[in-house]
């Protein structure tokens, strides 16, 4: 177990290293640079700026300098704003994580509850309604949903402000972000719950005199959750890192939208910083979901 964990962490470090290489060199291969579009900059100013960010050095040396900085916990400063990258990422991640965390929690809890209900009330009106709504929700792309929500609740009904500089209302973005994973988890839970309820061990539990509620929530649900966990790990990672589209529509200034602007700006340190951050988050979530998997399903061995 510990050995497996160490192996996975080492592998994760290698993965992240490879990602930095690929990101660094492809980023530099894209035409344009951080200071190319600067309107009023004379060649001298541009050269001075490039020297400041080491952009005048050979590519390989630039990479080495960047990685050295990383080891010292220095992710550099933005070529666009001049602010510290680590700081910027953390700030915008806070927004993404708050919205994403709420959305993920709602998706998981509601998904499991609705999925279980649909399985238990199979072939009833309740089941049909849940299946219909969840199918509908998985079919609507989040940007369409976000737009509709914004239009109906902010512009028509005026329940929420479209945009405000100081106080953010997260209700609409959370709904927009959670609906798809919630529906997906609902359907996943329903299928695996039905499967679990038909298993021999459920019959054994019933035959022991275990109450219906415990049969469902102890014996069946635990087994039914195994497939759900595989989906939830990566889902949380992608939701936490923010959906670029939803963040842009609701002008949240989260990590997702920062990432996109950094690319259009050719803000090299910011691109690298966000890429590494997202990679670490993704790899970390996968590792955690593996461990949870092991907790729920003892048959899984790691060696």
């Amino acid at each position: 177990m510990a050995k497996y964990f160490v192996k996975r962490v080492l592998l994760a470090i290698v993965t992240i290293f490879i990602i930095t290489v690929i990101a660094f060199f492809t980023m530099n291969a894209i035409p344009g640079g951080p200071f190319n579009s600067e309107k009023a900059s004379s060649p001298q100013v541009k050269a001075a700026l490039e020297a400041r960010y080491n952009l005048d050095k050979p590519l390989l040396e630039q990479y080495v300098i960047y990685v050295q900085g990383l080891f010292h916990g220095d992710m550099g400063i933005s070529t666009k704003t001049g602010r510290d990258i680590a700081q910027t990422i953390l700030e915008s991640f806070k927004v993404s994580a708050t919205v994403g965390g709420m959305a993920a929690a709602i998706a998981i809890v509601c998904g499991i509850v609705f999925g279980s209900i649909a399985a238990l009330k199979r072939n009833t009106v309740i089941d049909r309604i849940i299946v219909f709504l969840s199918t509908l929700a998985t079919a609507v792309p989040s940007f369409v949903l976000a737009t509709i929500l914004l239009y109906v609740f902010s512009m028509k009904l005026g329940w929420f402000q479209v945009w405000s500089a100081d106080s953010h209302n997260y209700v609409l973005p959370v709904i927009a972000l959670s609906l798809y994973p919630m529906s997906y988890i609902t359907r996943l839970t329903k299928t695996s719950m039905l499967d679990a309820l038909g298993q021999d061990y459920v019959r054994t539990a019933k035959a022991k005199g275990v109450s219906q509620v415990l049969v469902i929530f102890k014996h069946a649900l635990r087994n039914a959750l195994i497939p759900v966990i595989t989906y939830v790990g990566p889902m949380i990672a992608s939701i936490l890192t923010g959906s670029m589209v939803v963040e842009s529509i609701f002008t949240l200034g989260g990590l997702g939208s920062k990432f996109v602007t950094s690319i259009t700006n050719r803000d090299y340190p910011m691109i690298m910083g966000t890429t590494i951050f997202l990679a670490v988050l993704m790899v970390g979530m996968n590792l955690i979901s593996d461990l949870v998997y092991k907790l729920v399903d003892p048959r899984i061995t790691f060696d």
Binding site: G198, Q199, D200, T204, A205, V210, R222
Partner: protein, 334 residues
Amino acid sequence: MSEKLLEVKNLHTSFFTDSGEVKAVNGVSFSLESGKILGIVGESGSGKSVTAYSIMQILAGTGKVVEGEILYKGENILNYSKQQMKNFRGKKCSIIFQDPMTSLNPTFTIGNQLMEAILLHTDRNKEEAKARAAEMLTLVGVNEPEKRLKQYPHELSGGMRQRVMIAMALACEPDILIADEPTTALDVTIQAQILELMKDLQKQLGMAIIMVTHDLGVIASMCDEVIVMYGGRVCERGTADAIFYHSSHEYTKGLIRSIPSTQNMKQKLIPIAGTPINLLNMPKGCAFCSRCDNAMKICLEQIPEEIWVGEDHLASCWMNVKKQMEQEKVGASK
């Protein structure tokens, strides 16, 4: 005569499927006295498991007892409330299943699953329940019980798991143990061990057993009484000896001809020809009729009544009726 512990009267159980009503059990009656072993034999699909599940009320969602009574110490358990039924299962009557590989929950430890029943049905606290669980494991011949309690089902062999199932079933000292083909999924040496264990435990604890099987050898070696099922009906019942040496139903005769034994070593084994009946569309007469070599006209038209063919021996076959009528005629003409 000892007290009747369990009486099943005219049990009809059906599954209501999309393609219609599957009549899995069609009027089964039998009774079980305390401390006795009753065998139920019959080929695959004859309704043995459905009969057992009906008693436990653990039929699949579409299954329902549509007629009949199941009396436990004189009380009809079909009228039990949910709470009473919970108390019946596992405490008064336990069941072990055919496949020990899938009958234990893979995500909980052996200890957890054993203690669950004990905590549910007795006043024992957690510590005591654990001690009881370990005691039960020792009783069923599982070594290192303390260690096993912490293990998960997948860490145990099939034979071990069936022992755990038996321990679980007997933990609350039920009056009745239903064993639904407890050895079918195990290999031969393990089968013998498990049967030996069950016989021992029956002597020690004195519960009554309903032994469901298609292995006539098992029946011969352990059962006091046997019922033979075909098409969801009882076609013959009696002591193991009567069934073996004086089989009086054409199906039972075929069943016995189809198993190898020391007596018929040199003869060819004769399988029963034909396929089992369609439970969606039960025939009007005897269920076995279409596969019976000696079928008569009446067999097609009327279900044969159960009649005495010997002491403690009943069969429902028109052949016996015919035979008795002939004997009466001979007697009368003398």
